[in-house]
């Protein structure tokens, strides 16, 4: 197992390194002169001169070769220095740290919400294969997976805020604020997870060891809960990890609709404002976060699945 973790971590370092390169290249490919933009941000558009732009170009190291700029940038972010926002002039890291709790709160709430729906729905649907319950769950999951989340958000607002006034539309702070964003974000994920749990259960229930357990006289309840569920869940863990990535995507849209002060909204606002420093930092952060989640999921997989736990250790 140590061997596996080592290998997996090595891969992680390569990928993170690749991610920093990709982010850097992406930002450098953006149209426009960076020095000019920094100058505009610093001095305003009206009192801008060519000299000032050149000064900034030199002082910010923007005249150096690209790879020098890259390592310069890399050494800065390694120290937690993401530069300054072109709009507000504040350090980017401060701004991001301030936004993290809101995004985390929203993601975890939606994750919990989606699992609370998906696990029972998926299991029941698989066990009662081809029944009305099964068809109902499948249709619901199909709709849930295809409904655009921004549309769902608007419908929920229309229904629960505008028509009935049960929950507030915008804002952050109280428990009632989180309901609509969390439901919006969790619905799609619940649908996809339900499908996967159902598929996983159906697959496991077909396996020889399930038939063999039944042949040994083990009760149906025990077959499902002790023999099938654990096997079906191992692949689902991976998917939940991948779903967390989709949750991160979703936060971008949901946070902008509900004015939720998280990272997603920060990213969208900075794209509107072309605040490159913030965009760069946000993208990097999202990617690293995503990679780390995947690593965690892989490790969890290893802990749950004895086949990997022991095999990789020996071989």
């Amino acid at each position: 197992m140590a061997h596996y973790i080592l290998k997996r971590s090595g891969l992680l370092i390569i990928v993170v390194f690749g991610v920093t390169i990709a982010t850097f290249v992406l930002m450098n490919m953006a149209p426009g002169d960076q020095a000019e933009m920094v100058a505009i941000a610093r001095y305003g558009l009206e009192n801008l001169t060519a000299d000032e732009i050149e000064n900034i170009r030199i002082s910010e190291g923007l005249d150096a070769p690209v790879w020098v700029q890259y390592f310069h940038w890399l050494s800065h972010i390694a120290q937690g220095d993401f530069g300054h926002s072109l709009v507000t002039g504040d350090p980017v890291s401060q701004e991001i740290i301030a936004r993290i709790p809101a995004t985390l709160l929203l993601s975890i709430t939606s994750l919990v919400f989606s699992l609370l729906i998906a696990i029972p729905a998926g299991v029941i649907s698989a066990v009662k294969h081809n029944s009305f319950v099964d068809h109902g769950v499948r249709i619901g999951a199909m709709l849930g997976a295809t409904i655009p989340n921004f549309w769902l958000a608007l419908l929920l607002i229309l229904l629960f805020s505008v028509t009935w006034d049960w929950f507030p539309v915008f804002g952050y702070g109280t428990a009632s604020h989180i309901v609509l964003p969390a439901v919006t974000l969790g619905a799609g994920m619940a649908a996809v997870t339900t499908r996967l749990i159902r598929a996983g259960m159906l697959e496991v229930l077909k396996q020889d060891y399930i038939i063999s357990a039944r042949a040994h006289g083990i009760s149906e309840k025990r077959v499902i809960f002790r023999h099938a569920l654990k096997n079906a869940f191992i692949p689902v863990i991976t998917v939940i990890g991948m779903q967390l990535g989709h949750l991160l995507e979703g936060t971008v849209i949901v946070e902008s609709i509900f004015a939720w002060p998280g990272l997603g909204k920060l990213l969208v606002d900075s794209i509107y404002a072309r605040d490159y420093a913030v965009i760069q930092a946000c993208v990097l952060l999202f990617a690293v976060f995503f990679v780390l989640i995947n690593l965690l999921v892989d490790l969890l997989y290893v802990i749950l699945d004895p086949r990997i736990r022991y095999d990789r250790g020996a071989g």
Binding site: A215, H216, R307
Partner: protein, 319 residues
């Protein structure tokens, strides 16, 4: 005179599919006495494995059986699912077909054995642990104390089969169904399985229904042989008769195809779906065929101790 343990009468199993019904086997009669080893031999797709699963009532949801399966004076097909569940493992055990996939990969070997022991013998955890170890010791996994907490994928194929064998007799069943226990095994491994099965039947005095395509394995283990072709039992008799002087042309052909008998093939192939064949199902490939074979339902004929489903079979006919 041994008493009859399991008596199958007129058993038919069909699968309902999109294209309609597909018949697995038709009108099967079979008896197993207490302590007897019955070999059910036949080629791929003849329905022999489905027969084993039909007895345990473990068919997939689209499979339906008709007829009677009388086990100790009770018709298994008439029992409620709960009662049937209590019969599985405790009265009729199964040694499943594919040892490498038949143990739960996420539970340790010890956990799986203990589960069976506690279920069937109503004993406490600690006692079950000891019992599990004894059981495994008996079936050739020496030093199993160390293996108790291992997971199935850490065991070799032969070891898994031994674990499954131990597991299948935790409930001390009177009948064990072994479904193709030697499938996919090379010579040496096959010998070990045969030895294991012999040990099992000898020590527990239980009856064994051995489902196999391997004539040599059957010859080594069985008292009685039933030959299945295309969903029908075509010949059923003592091993010394069926495999030495077979009466049905199919059994004769099967024996002649063995390399040591000169590899004389049966012409043609067995039909895929036998549903619409009237009369003898072996008719198209049979070298003794007569016109009457294809138009009437063939009844079982008794010659000495052997039942044979062939119009032209008679005592003296040899290959």
């Amino acid at each position: 005179m041994a008493t009859t343990l399991l008596s199958i009468r007129g058993l038919t199993t069909v699968f309902h599919c999109r294209q309609g019904q597909i018949e697995a086997f038709n009108n099967v009669d079979l008896d197993i006495d207490q302590g007897q080893v019955l070999g059910l031999i036949g080629e791929t797709g003849c329905g022999k494995s489905v027969l084993g699963m039909s007895i345990l009532r473990l068919l997939p949801p689209n499979g339906v059986s008709r007829g009677q399966i009388i086990y100790k004076y009770r018709d298994l097909l008439g029992l409620s699912p709960q009662v049937m569940q209590r019969i599985r493992g405790a009265e009729i055990g199964l040694l499943p077909q594919n040892p490498s996939a038949s143990l739960n990969p996420v539970l340790s070997v010890g956990q799986q054995l203990m589960e069976g022991l506690r279920l069937h013998r109503m004993i406490k955890k600690e006692k079950a642990r000891v019992a599990a170890q004894t059981l495994l010791g008996c079936y050739g996994l020496r030093g199993f104390n160390n293996r108790y907490d291992e997971y199935p994928h850490q065991l070799s194929g032969g070891m898994k089969q031994r674990v499954l064998a131990a597991l299948s007799i935790t409930g001390k069943p009177s009948l064990l169904i072994a479904d193709e226990p030697t499938k996919g095994l090379d010579g040496v491994a096959r010998n070990q399985v045969v030895a294991l099965l012999r040990q099992l039947t000898r020590e527990t005095k239980m009856a064994l229904l051995l489902i196999t395509h391997d004539l040599k394995v059957a010859a080594n283990l069985c008292d009685q042989i039933a030959v299945m072709y295309c969903g029908e039992i075509v010949e059923n008799g003592p091993v010394g008769k069926v495999l030495v002087s077979p009466l049905h042309p199919y059994t004769q052909g099967l024996l002649a195809s063995l390399p040591e008998n000169g590899l004389h093939p049966i012409p043609d192939y067995s039909p895929g779906v036998p549903g619409d064949i009237q009369g003898c199902r072996f008719y198209p490939r049979c070298r003794y065929r007569q016109d009457k074979c294809s138009c009437q339902t063939i009844k079982n004929k008794r010659i000495n101790e052997t039942y044979v489903r062939c119009l032209s079979a008679s005592e003296g006919r040899e290959n």
